[in-house]
Symmetry: C2
Subunit: 225 residues, 2 copies
Amino acid sequence: MANIVIVEDDHFLREELQHILQKEGYSVVSISTFDAPVEAIIQANPSLVLLDLNLPDMSGFQICRTLKAKGVGPILVLTARNQLRDELHALELGADDFLNKPCHPKRLIARIEKLQQLYATMPRLLKWAQFTLDERGNILYAAQQSVALSENEAIMMKLFINNSPAIVTKEQLFIELWGSSEFVDENILQVNMTRLRKTLDKVGMSRSIKTVRGIGYQLIGGETS
Amino acid sequence: MANIVIVEDDHFLREELQHILQKEGYSVVSISTFDAPVEAIIQANPSLVLLDLNLPDMSGFQICRTLKAKGVGPILVLTARNQLRDELHALELGADDFLNKPCHPKRLIARIEKLQQLYATMPRLLKWAQFTLDERGNILYAAQQSVALSENEAIMMKLFINNSPAIVTKEQLFIELWGSSEFVDENILQVNMTRLRKTLDKVGMSRSIKTVRGIGYQLIGGETS
DNA sequence: TCAAACCTTACGCCAACTGTAAGAGTAATT
DNA sequence: AATTACTCTTACAGTTGGCGTAAGGTTTGA
């Protein structure tokens, strides 16, 4: 379902954009910058975010970076300030495309469709240090080689990469794997850790996961053994 | 290895672009439009193609479409004619981004890096019509949705996409699936075809594979049912 | 040295994938 | 319309891989 979130302060513009997009058959949610936007956006689970940078403060860039870190879909940035600096900054912070206002509706639509297409087609890659995880195929690239991960292994690896280099607590793992930290035997976690480690060894990433006694585990920027 | 191909007729501009990119550490190959460009480009195996649309004839668009069909990496189109029509057309034909000349070097670099990032590493994507097959993860993207393919299904789909719109003979399928067309019950092929078709139906691609009585099968540019 | 925390291995269940078999459906030909 | 060759579908069983359980071994740190 093509579900677009518009983040825009100007009420008039918001209506206009919404109208354009809806005419194309998109379902649209508009959010003003003041409505705790990041949480609201994530909850809307958009297939694309249309982010206006006309915001008085620098918060637009911050939103951009946060959204990207959270793995929210493609971000298309709009701005009226025709400045190269803004464009570079936005792209660097994770925006996937950039358009100046005013912008012809057809151009806007074309760019939106292109982004959706790129995102739908492209592997979603999660990176940290020498690890790259393809979230769709559950394939882990490390150094030169790659391995297929099982579902559980991928969930854990995702957690580790997302939190690295911080420690991932056992509770986080429980929640991510089984939805709750209650009523679950601790051993099952250890078994899954063993399995993940064994799989990592296949690509020469021995000892990449350190155990933090009593707390949890930690992915460390390992060496090729 | 970041390997960029520039397709540009103007000798002076070509030098300039090449210079800019090489300063950023890219390895660059320049190709003029007359050097049977498509084959040359494919052979260079670029991680990005910089395509100038200043070409006298309409051949630039044609190159764009052909490259995309062959699964060559991201295509960034440059043009001096600041026309919305060109941009829409290029994007529609498979270009991944579009910039007007003159273009600030920093902007060019930023866009190139963004595209590379989106495309990320290696994945060999196979495309035909509305089908895109990720050969690593055996994931098929069609229209908006995607499905996981089993090993056999992926092998078959790969054959179909590589040969489309030509007919794929039963023998080709036998060879690809079981190494030989001898000593194999024909029924097993039919069963696998049924299964592939059922899987394609999941992404709304009904009737995408036509059977050619006595010969084989054929992937056709289907509709979203 | 001792106990808590952690690791490993083996086992069985389950789901997904694949090939086999048998019968039903379909298209071309007479 | 009947025949026949070709194709499709469904059900079944063997195999494999992922997962959780259980039980015993190993490490860590006081």
